[in-house]
């Protein structure tokens, strides 16, 4: 960790555009009586790579799950790719087809092969012909470096391979935004690198990414903004260099000292 803190990372080749991808305004969410997200305001431009961190229970997963309406917000407004998320199922479907999501536990479909996992959404949501969908899927499987596993079932792969399939599966829908919900925290240590490599490659290709993770090395390397959340609020956000070396709030300092200690 020490070594990393002193390295200056060059992220100049990852461009951020002026166009707004996600806009969240005074958004609140409750789970029953529990106020889980409090007055969230967040604007994400296209091409941004945002890492969200914070202690468990701080609402960071809930926040990104609101972006594709896996969770429903109760107040405020979320606009994704110029589509506002409301009860309108058509809007929700439109947003979901443009937003890919990678889960902590992969959530691959165990009854389908890797290739079928990847082609399912293009065929059924995008109405893509099967052959075309399979070609595209193979392309993405090559990109995550496991084309040879295409005909296996998820249960036959290692955790790292499964997570890479999950990333390829999301990419097959050609999304404009990718959400990552703790993509490496269920993995054995030796498999984390292979997944992070794929994510770094994705960031370099210009994908808009929001990533809930505790991989601070990853944050340093690719993020253009790090957001710290605690108790349902965005406490602090900054470019990684500033965030790590010069945290402003006490809670951030405490959190960073806890996760960077060892």
């Amino acid at each position: 960790m020490e070594e990393m803190e002193n390295t200056v990372v060059d992220r100049s080749h990852m461009q951020v555009s002026e166009e707004i991808a996600i806009q969240i305004q005074s958004m609140h969410k409750w789970f029953g009586e529990f106020h889980v997200l409090k007055d969230i305001n967040l604007t994400v431009n296209r091409g941004e790579r945002i890492v969200i961190c914070g202690p468990s229970g701080s609402g960071k997963s809930t926040l990104i799950r609101c972006i594709n309406r896996l969770e429903e917000h109760q107040r405020g407004e979320i606009v994704v790719n110029d589509v506002e998320l409301t009860d309108d199922l058509k809007n929700i479907a439109e947003v979901r087809s443009e937003v890919g999501m990678v889960f902590q536990h992969f959530n691959l479909f165990p009854h389908l092969t890797v290739l079928e996992n990847c082609t399912l959404a293009p065929i059924w949501v995008r109405r893509m012909p099967k052959a075309e969908a399979e070609d595209a899927a193979m392309k993405y499987l090559e990109r995550v470096k496991i084309p040879e596993q295409a005909l296996k079932y998820p249960g036959q792969l290692s955790g790292g391979q499964q997570q890479r399939v999950a990333i390829a599966r999301s990419l097959c829908m050609n999304p404009r935004i990718m959400l990552f919900d703790e993509p490496t925290s269920a993995l054995d240590p030796e498999m984390i690198a292979e997944v992070l490599d794929v994510m770094v490659g994705l960031a370099e290709s210009g994908m808009t990414m929001i990533c809930v993770t505790h991989e601070m090395g990853f944050a340093r390397k690719v993020a253009n903004r790090v957001i710290f959340m605690d108790e349902g609020e965005i406490i602090e956000q900054n470019v990684p260099e500033e965030f790590f070396t010069n945290p402003k709030s006490d809670r951030t300092k405490l959190f960073l000292s806890q996760i960077l200690q060892h």
């Binding site: 999501m101 536990h105 479909f109 009854h111 829908m173």
Partner: protein, 549 residues
Amino acid sequence: MATEDTREGNPAHPAGQHPDLPPPAGTTGFIGWLRENLFAGPLNTIGTIVTVAVLYMLLVPLIQWSITDAVISGSDRHGCDIGRFAANIGNAYDDFSRENLALDPNQEGLDPETARLWAARQKRAEVDLTTVGSMLGNFDNTYQIMVREGTVPTDLLAVVDQVRPLELQPALLQAIEARDLPAVDSIVNELEPLIAWGQNRDGACWVVIKERVLIFMLGFYPRHEAWRLIVAAVLLVGAVAPLLFDKMPFRKPLLFVTATFPLTGFWFVVGDFPTMIYCWIAFAIYWLDPNRIRGPTIAAALVLLNLIYYFGLSDSDGLLSTIIGLKFLDFRYVPTGEWGGLLATMVNGVVGITASLPIGIVLALGRRSNMPIIRALCTAFIETVRGVPLITVLFMAALMLPLFLPEGVSFDKFLRALIGVALFSSAYMAEVVRGGLQAIPKGQYEAAEAMGLTYWRSMRLIVLPQALKIQIPAIVNSFIGLYKDTTLLSIIGILDVLLVATQTNTRGDWVGFSSETYFFAGFIFVIFCFGMSRYSIFLERKLHTGHRS
């Protein structure tokens, strides 16, 4: 080199170069299997011996009864009776106790309790002794009938020639009457070859099944129309096979048979609906048209033709009506009252099974729905139907439902029972499916949702395939239960396989063969239920795709 010194044992193999050796003798192959599975320890060995002994004691009599001593020739009961009568001469003689016969209940000084007991024993001995005589009488009577009919088996003729039972009968009866036991002994001794012959022919009487097999299969379905059922049965096999085996040859054309079976099966079994062919052809055209352009048009035209016929022409006898109505293909209408036996059981089982799974799935999804009214309705239906015995449902369907229907509206009792069975089992199926749905991790639903799949697609493509796979054993369990529950239809007077058996047992000419008829009815159920069970195991193996993620 240094590492080699630290190793004990065979120094011929340096570390890391040990070759694969064959396993010790007697641990593999047949002997190894026996050792490991049947004679692994004292307890295991005792268990094996006890099991083999019990199996032997059960199977030998069963095989004797059902195969070696069974009667299959002939066309009436005499061939079966005569063997039993001959054997029973010996059985009654063996049962007869001469000590008991010699008891004197009127003896002086006997307490009343003992006297009563002795009287009963003596009576019993007298009955046995008389039975010896009456069995020979029965034998002789039946033998004379068979002589008249010319159906005496050749091996019996030889025995009769040797023993001459007809001539022995008066002497035997006289000896019994006179309580002349030595004379009885000698006569029975003379009858010994006949008794031995009978003991090899006193097993199951399969003649009753042979004679009644059509009723067991069809009930009172007209015999000259039975070919239609054979066609329907062949079509059923063709319809079910492609659903069961997804890699079989000719699967695609057979799926056409599957898709049209509800129409064709109905047409062949019920009859009187030849314009069903139009729907059939319409479907075929739609199916075969790769572009789905002309197909739907022609299909619609044919369905229209069908409607025109039914609402415009069906009552007239003109040429147009004959041609459009395909009256030359008209099968005679067979009302469900004439159905019976395996036909009734199969129609109920197949319709019940095919209806209960989809209805059960819809009910299960409804019970897990977010919409409170749908959830309440589905829950109420499931809980009500599950809380009521099937017999009650069937009585409702058979007796009470007609009371609630408006005047003039009535529909078939068989159909009402069919609906009752289907709804009843779908309530059970719903709970089985719900169990499967609950076993699917939340992440699967979320992943499907996050992809943008609609609710119904994510259910059909992601959740249900996994949920149903988990529940295959329970689903097949329900199917088997449903198939056997169709026997309850006999209570409301539908002639299913079991009722055919029961009715056979009460018919004058076949009284006394209930073992055979119930055995046969049970055998039919075992075949189908065992088939379903094996298929479920096959399916589980086939769908196994490694460990769950």
